[in-house]
């Protein structure tokens, strides 16, 4: 039993990482009706950006450490958001009118460019990078169940992010416009909503959430590598699909399910740990076969 609870905790952490990535996918899909396959790469780019910023700030030796960490996170998140909007400008906007296939391919290609770009241009980017930030190592245990400070912090941070996100979407004017656009693009356009602006803001928003996900990932696992975005993207997208593409709460549920499936596979299936992704994907394929609209997604009636 203790083992199960411990596994649930580790699965939950993994699940939150997936959920954060999946939320970006869902947000982008909801508003733009496109899948940004490079989204997970943007997330891990966030981690790399924060590493670069941190190196830069520590070199200046002007700020105290806690301020360096604070600035690092703020800058990294903003820079990643800007990179997200640049991607939108170059690789999504020109193809908005083309068939979905084109955007799909172009974003996959962007993913490649980001990944390989980090590998080539980041100093010795090919090897795994030790992430300089990490949570304090406090922990308390109750009858074998260990709960660490990092676990609690991750849950709190994820909660704050989702709270802020829902506040932004539900309470602000831009949030209202985003919701309108996700309901019906044409109608939104008729109502005088500046689509370009909305798309840009959405990309910025999704990328910033992604950056936080990337940084949390780095802090929790202590390592980032240029090609983590590949698997992260596929699993993140799977989680979004499972939850119902376009629904952020669905993305959370999907992410948590996949995280727990993976950690349980590693622990309880004999010799199963190399196959953990396979189990996750089997869950996804089953979902696509029997409930293509996902857990919380609405069934789309195709207009003929």
């Amino acid at each position: 039993m203790v083992l199960v609870i411990n596994q649930v905790i580790t699965g939950l952490m993994l699940g939150i990482m997936y959920a954060l990535i999946a939320s970006g996918f869902s947000l982008l899909f909801g508003v733009l009706n496109v899948v940004q396959f490079a989204h997970a790469d943007v997330c891990f780019l966030g981690a790399f950006v924060s590493m670069a910023v941190m190196t830069f700030l520590s070199k200046i030796e002007f700020f105290p450490t806690w301020l360096v960490i604070f600035f690092t996170i703020i800058f990294a998140v903003i820079i990643t958001g800007i990179i997200g909007t640049i991607i939108e400008k170059i690789c999504v906007k020109p193809f908005r009118k083309s068939p979905g296939l084109i955007i799909l391919l172009s974003t996959v290609a962007v993913g490649f460019i980001i990944r390989e770009g980090i590998k080539i241009f980041y100093p010795s980017g090919a090897s795994p990078k030790f992430f300089p930030l990490s949570f304090p190592q406090w922990a308390f245990s109750m009858g074998g169940v260990t709960i660490r400070f990092s676990n609690i912090m991750i849950i709190i941070i994820a909660g704050i992010i989702y709270f802020l996100l829902s506040l932004f979407i539900n309470k602000t004017k831009i949030g209202l416009q985003i919701r309108a656009t996700s309901q019906n693009v044409e109608a939104a356009q008729v109502l005088g909503i500046d689509l370009d602006k909305i798309f840009m803001i959405t990309f910025f928003l999704a990328s910033t959430i992604g950056a936080v996900a990337g940084i949390l990932n780095g802090m929790y696992y202590n390592i980032v590598k240029f090609d983590m975005g590949l698997m992260g993207g596929i699993i993140g997208f799977s989680a979004a699909v499972m939850g119902g593409l376009g629904n952020i709460y669905g993305a959370i549920i999907g992410g948590l399910i996949l995280g727990i499936v993976e950690s349980f596979t590693m622990a309880f299936v004999p010799g199963g740990s190399p196959y953990k992704e396979i189990f996750a994907f089997i869950v996804v394929v089953l979902f696509l076969l029997f409930k293509p609209s996902g857990i919380l997604g609405k069934k789309v009636i195709e207009k003929v």
Partner: protein, 402 residues
């Protein structure tokens, strides 16, 4: 055609025909010569002129449509001659490269990529299914024939047959699991399959794990082994020449089959599915059948190429069948031109040769592919050779029938 009996007409046609032949010979020799020199290029040297000049000439000629049209006309009028002449030139390649097996190796890889890309083109180009699992199809073929050859001592020829069957079944499996998923969902499922395939062959015992399968036997015909050097007219060709001719034959046959499929109802149905599934259904087209066919036939091409690859390299490991390879194949099809067989051929040759030539820049190979995809999508979404309208003039139907 209308008035064939006058003598002057006859001689005029003869001259015209000779003109066509000359043009065909000249253009094909130029292309061939460029290709050969590009292959043997070492770094940046004077031979680059050879590319710059004809390419400039080509762009200048663009302004003189008459010449272009005449060249096009001669190729379409004397279609079979132009194909036969090209084949003759291709047969000649091993003699040119007999001291340099590496270049021959590149040519073989061109052929294999071409066959594989033709298979992908059926799915991506004709049917509009963005398949990210094509490396897995390739891998299934390679693993099937390799495992049969190593464990059960199947001959290469039986192995390739088995590879075709198994990869077709694999294609059907993936096809039937993805029937309901379109667009992004299809892409996702195929990505998942690609990764599942890689994880499976990487971890299962019988596939040799990540160590792969080594010492895959060479194909033999009777007592003649493909690993011995080929002797034609007293000229000793390196052992790669055997594979070269094998791959050439199969690639040509694949091109022929792809062309037949394209020009038949099967190809039309695939296009209909790509354009509009609902309209296709309402015309009585079975979308599911079409998709399954595309999956299976595409997989056959991939599996066939994979089987040859396994026996040629004589070693396979999961590393050769990753997501990256799938993206390279997609890049080939997009660069060449979706649903255009000539385009795919050009794309395959270019994207095999160029990365070999920029090996010193090898670290950026995947970056290069990514940039190519984006650049092509932005600047030339149709690819190098755009998709063409099917013309059925060769069928000689009556146009005025009412």
């Amino acid at each position: 055609m209308d008035n064939p009996d006058t003598r002057s007409n006859y001689s005029q046609r003869l001259y015209k025909k000779i003109g066509y032949f000359l043009i065909i010979i000249v253009t094909e020799v130029i292309i061939f010569y460029m290709f050969i020199n590009f292959l043997s290029l070492k770094g940046i040297d004077y031979k680059l002129f050879l590319f710059v000049l004809p390419i400039i000439a080509f762009f200048v000629l663009q302004r003189y449509q008459k010449i272009i049209n005449f060249v096009k006309e001669s190729h379409s009028q004397c279609n079979s001659f132009s194909i036969i002449f090209m084949i003759l030139l291709l047969i000649f390649i091993p003699f040119l490269f007999k001291d340099n097996p590496y270049l021959l190796h590149i040519c073989i890889m061109c052929g294999l990529y071409l066959i594989t890309a033709l298979g992908l083109n059926i799915q991506l180009g004709s049917t509009g299914m963005v398949n990210f699992a094509f490396a897995a199809f390739f891998g299934v073929g390679a693993y099937t024939s390799a495992l049969l050859a190593v464990n059960f001592h199947f001959s290469f020829w039986l192995g390739i047959l088995a590879a075709i069957i198994i990869s077709a079944l694999f294609g059907l499996l993936i096809g039937s699991l993805t029937l309901k998923s379109t667009g992004f969902y299809y892409a996702l499922v195929t990505m998942a399959f690609q990764i599942i395939f890689h994880l499976l062959v990487n971890n299962l015992r019988f596939t040799g794990g990540s160590g792969g399968i080594s010492n895959i036997p060479f194909p033999t015909i009777g007592k003649y082994s493909f690993s011995s050097s080929l002797n034609i007219f007293g000229i000793n060709l390196p052992y790669q020449a055997n594979y070269y001719y094998l791959v050439l034959a199969i690639a040509l046959f694949s091109l022929y089959l792809a062309k037949r499929l394209y020009n038949s109802r099967t190809g039309l149905v695939w296009n209909a599915i790509r354009e509009d599934e609902i309209a296709a259904k309402c015309q009585g087209i079975s979308v599911n059948k079409g998709k399954l066919e595309a999956s299976a036939i595409g997989a056959i091409f991939g599996g066939m190429a994979g089987a040859i690859y396994a026996h040629y390299i004589s070693f396979i490991s999961p590393e050769s069948f990753t997501f990256h390879f799938s993206v390279v194949l997609i890049c080939i099809v997009i660069l060449g031109g979706l649903d255009n067989i000539l385009g795919v051929a050009i794309g395959a040759v270019l994207l095999t040769v160029i990365p070999e030539k920029i090996r010193f820049f090898a670290e950026a190979r995947m970056l290069f592919y990514g940039i190519i995809i984006i650049a092509v999508l932005i600047f030339k979404p149709q690819g190098l050779v755009p998709e063409r309208i099917r013309k059925y003039n060769f069928l000689n139907f009556k146009k005025d029938s009412i």
